[in-house]
């Protein structure tokens, strides 16, 4: 399990290659990367604030839950903070499992939980001003599908 929270840009391709090399014996690997949308050219930049300390703890707890629930061989979460430009990679998750269903489910679980349970806040900057991104009810609702 690896959790990286840092301002630095990273290459999802390189990260996936390293993750795959580590996940020896896993039959399935799923990865997801999230990018900054430019919202039709309106967005000039995005700033991501986080809560140092709590962020790492929350992400580790989420990853641990996924590893246990789907018997993942490994899980990776990388999330940037600071200033990002449209088109830049914000974050990625990757999961390794024996079979694809577990790898997909684990990755979706990681995404759903880190969207509304990890302390990150996005602020969008446009030519006409800046605005904090509002949380969506749909993101909160998405968590209920993992109740059991």
């Amino acid at each position: 399990m690896q959790i990286i929270v840092a301002p630095d840009p990273f290459s999802p391709g390189d990260q996936l290659e390293r993750f795959s090399a580590r996940a020896d014996g896993a039959g399935a690997i799923v990865s997801f990367s999230g990018l900054v949308r430019d919202e039709g050219g309106r967005l000039t930049r995005m700033e991501i604030e986080h809560y140092p300390g709590m962020t790492e703890r929350a992400l580790a707890a989420i990853a641990q839950q996924a590893v246990e629930r789907w018997a993942l061989a490994d899980a990776l979460i990388i999330h940037r903070h600071g200033t990002l430009q449209p088109g830049e990679v914000i974050m990625m998750v990757a999961t390794a499992a024996r079979h694809r269903r577990d790898a997909f489910a684990g990755a979706e679980f990681l995404m759903d939980y880190l969207k509304s349970r990890a302390p990150f806040w996005k602020k969008e900057f446009a030519a006409d001003g800046a605005e904090w991104v509002a949380a969506k009810d749909a993101d909160e609702d998405a968590l209920t599908r993992w109740d059991r």
Partner: protein, 83 residues
Amino acid sequence: MKITVMYFAWVRERIGVPRDVIETAAATVADLVAELRAREERYAAAFADLSALRVALDQELADFDAPLAGVREVAFFPPMTGG
């Protein structure tokens, strides 16, 4: 007891500082919020609508009726928007 109160995102902007270290006898988060609201208008504005806020106690999400005994760090912030 002395606790560190941290603010993030628009809560931080509205209050104007990222954190306060305060001496308080508040028994619960709600009591602490009442104390903060009474401080100054900018605090009252930030804490006007608790349904728009989340709270963490020592870096774990908690409820507004949670007790503060033994807690060293309280953080207030809007719903999270990671990913």
